[in-house]
Amino acid sequence: MKVLGLILAGDKGKALDKLTKKRASAAMPVGGKYRAIDFTLSNMVRSGVRKVGVITQYNPRSLMDHLGSGRDWDLDRKHGGLYILQPYADEEGMYWYRGTADAIFQNMTILKRGNEDYVLIGSGDHIYNFDFNALYDYHMISMADITVMTKSSKEYNTSLYGTIKTDEEGRILQIKEKSEKPAGDLINLGVYFMNKKLLMDLLYASVPNEKYDFLNDVVISNLKVLRVMSYKFTGYWKNIKKSVQEYKRINMDMLDSDISTELFYENGRIFTKLKDLAPPKVTPTGSVENSIVADGSIISGRVRNSVIFRNVQIKSGAMVEDSIVMEGSIIEEGAKIFNCILDKNVTIRSERTYKGYEEPLIFEKWQVV
């Protein structure tokens, strides 16, 4: 079976405030060395997807820099490989993608050209580790036209997610976008699997008629005529762009042994851009507890309950608690931070103290404070 992967990565992620001022949410750094998109991209590659199109729109610079030629995901190939699909101008004019269905429609060539039979649509914002082969199998056995990945809504605030109602067999009867009254006890994980020809037909039937949204105009409007099935996922799954609090919680989740084992050790690797940095080092004045520390970092201060990205320097006498410190940041001597999120290359000057209260305190890229 040949599967084409499409990753929607064009969104800004407004709820992430200053953190997505200059990057798409799919490019959000997470878990010490990853970007959000690494999870879906790695899941696809490990599930046998050999060609992946990444659909971008909102400031894709940092995303493109991260993806490069796709080499780190084994996608620099003579057959297949990585395609970055950006909005473009042509003879008929220039316009941004008007919705998710439009975004795929504008890139119809990638669908037309390849020899894939199926399309797997994912999002660059999701944190989970999953082998899609189980989804393919379910799709075949249940004779679905479209399979949608879902999860029990138990741990989720349903007003922030699409909710789904199915019949006993798992056929989807109703999908409601973010609403106070959920349709059923499942949430929509935004992962869709379907025949490529069927997708093309549905897109031709909707986009030219000014119906631009994939979920509404391709999936929901066809619930009655197509067999749309729910594949229930039971593992860890989070959306990075719901809120700053949630973003922080996802990072802190990775300090939980069970979650980090599920995400990083048990189900195959999550790949990311390699940087050839030396192993992290704790010096004689440093101490680290309940934290993760990435390559190239040197810890001479005290670190507790935190996520430390690559190439971070925490100088002696400094204290970092309950915080996220992104690549290249420096905490100078004696500085203290509690409940803070430091974007890349932030410098906290010596002896300063910063504390986030209900919301984490965010420092933007290159800030010196």
Partner: protein, 417 residues
């Protein structure tokens, strides 16, 4: 041309299954990475690696040289193993013979200079400075040299120069060294000069075909323009268990002489993709390197943990080197040890305890109180292992029903071939 065929007999079980250049070092590297990274950082992208002894791990590590940016359309990295020709096939008989056998390879690139390097040393060096020196002296041969204490000079080839650094005498491992200046095994040749010397050396029936023993003294006797380039940076010969252990532990010092964190002089390696290092609740890590993929719940002090190492709750690891994917259980005590890759140390094990006793069979290999555990070994729960011990690769000590290894003893298995 990197000489990477050596066994490194003084590294005991660590080089029983791999060549010395493939021995792991510094948390994620192998020894040869330093020479290869120096080449890449010096913009040398046409590199031949001469392999012979147990090359499988080394070859897999090198691949097509991609990790050192040596997967090139022009030049690149070439693994040069001994081969058979229509008339005869033979092993490399010595360092010079290895190069001589590959003269046609070098001719293909018609280089002006050939740099002969060793894959056995940990160092950081810009070869361009040596080349500038070579050109400025209008030399035929330049040997990179470093000063060591006179007491240690007898382990190396010593070099005596005049006041313009021209070499007037060279002694390989002299009993009574006359100079503190030793050869680092790094030779820069004008290719024509080297080519002629190799052709001549091949015809010499008495020659051992070794650079230090034969080729260099012979060239010197002919008054070749040979100069000593005095190197003042970081260079370590990690040829013994003690020096390997010590050089690893040096990296945990606050300001080590070898800076692995210099953005302008990176060391590259072929490493596995692993998540960041994880420090669990109740862990206590001080003065150590903890590589990616490692998970620590215990106490680690003055140690180097490689990728994917696990240290369980209540365990103390001190002054030790623990290599890739080795798992140490709970409530263990590990001191002054090197534990090789993929080993399992079960709960309550103690390593490096008791009195120091000289190793009964190989005192010249296992000494300084350091105990070495081989790769793929299983140490059963509560086992006690003393100082200056060794446990051979791939031993399942649990199955052997042994629970105690006294200081100075070696556990050897029957090799399953």
């Amino acid at each position: 041309m990197i000489l990477a065929g050596g066994q490194g007999t003084r590294l005991g079980i660590l080089t029983e299954d791999i060549a010395k250049p493939a021995v792991p070092f510094g948390g994620k590297y192998r020894i040869i990475d330093f020479t290869l990274s120096n080449c890449a950082n010096s913009s040398i992208y046409t590199v031949g690696v001469l392999t012979q002894y147990k090359p499988r791990v080394l070859s897999a590590h090198l691949g097509i040289g991609r990790d050192w940016d040596m997967d090139r359309k022009q030049g690149g990295l070439f693994i040069l193993s001994p081969y058979t020709a229509s008339s005869k096939g033979e092993w490399y008989k010595g360092t010079a013979h290895a190069i001589q056998q590959n003269m046609d390879f070098i001719d293909k690139f018609s280089p002006k200079y050939v740099l002969v390097l060793s894959g056995d040393h940990v160092y950081s060096m810009d070869y361009n400075e040596m080349l500038d020196f070579h050109i400025s002296k209008n030399a035929d041969v330049t040997i990179s040299c470093i000063k060591v204490p006179l007491s240690e000079a007898s382990r190396f080839g010593t070099v005596i120069t005049d006041n313009v650094l021209r070499i007037i005498d060279f002694e390989e491992k002299p009993l009574h060294p006359k100079s503190q200046l030793i050869s680092m095994g790094i030779y820069l040749f004008n290719w024509k000069v080297l080519r002629n010397a190799l052709v001549e050396d091949e015809k010499d029936k008495d020659s051992q075909h070794d650079f230090g023993k034969n080729v260099i003294p012979k060239l010197l006797s002919k008054e070749t323009k040979m100069y000593a380039y005095e190197f003042e940076g970081y260079w370590r010969d990690v040829g013994t268990i003690h020096s390997l252990w010590e050089t690893n532990l040096e990296l945990t010092h606050p300001m080590p002489a070898l800076n692995l964190y210099d953005p302008n002089w990176r060391f590259y390696t072929h490493s596995e993709e692993m998540p960041p290092a994880f420090f669990g609740k109740g862990s206590n890590v001080i003065k150590s390197l903890v590589s990616e993929g490692s998970r620590v719940w215990g106490e680690v002090e003055s140690s180097v943990l490689f990728q994917g190492v696990k240290v369980g709750k209540g365990t103390v690891v001190r002054n030790s080197v623990v290599m890739t994917n080795t798992v140490i259980g709970e409530n263990c005590l590990i001191e002054n040890a090197i534990i090789s890759e993929n080993s399992i140390v079960k709960d309550g094990v103690q390593i490096g305890i008791g009195e120091e006793v000289e190793n009964e069979e190989f005192p010249s290999i296992y000494n300084h109180g350091i105990t070495v555990i081989g790769e793929g070994v299983t140490i059963p729960a509560k086992m006690k292992i003393g100082k200056n011990c060794s446990v051979a690769n791939f031993l399942d000590v649990e199955k052997m029903g042994i629970n105690l290894l006294k200081s100075g003893k070696n556990l050897k298995g029957e090799r399953q071939n």
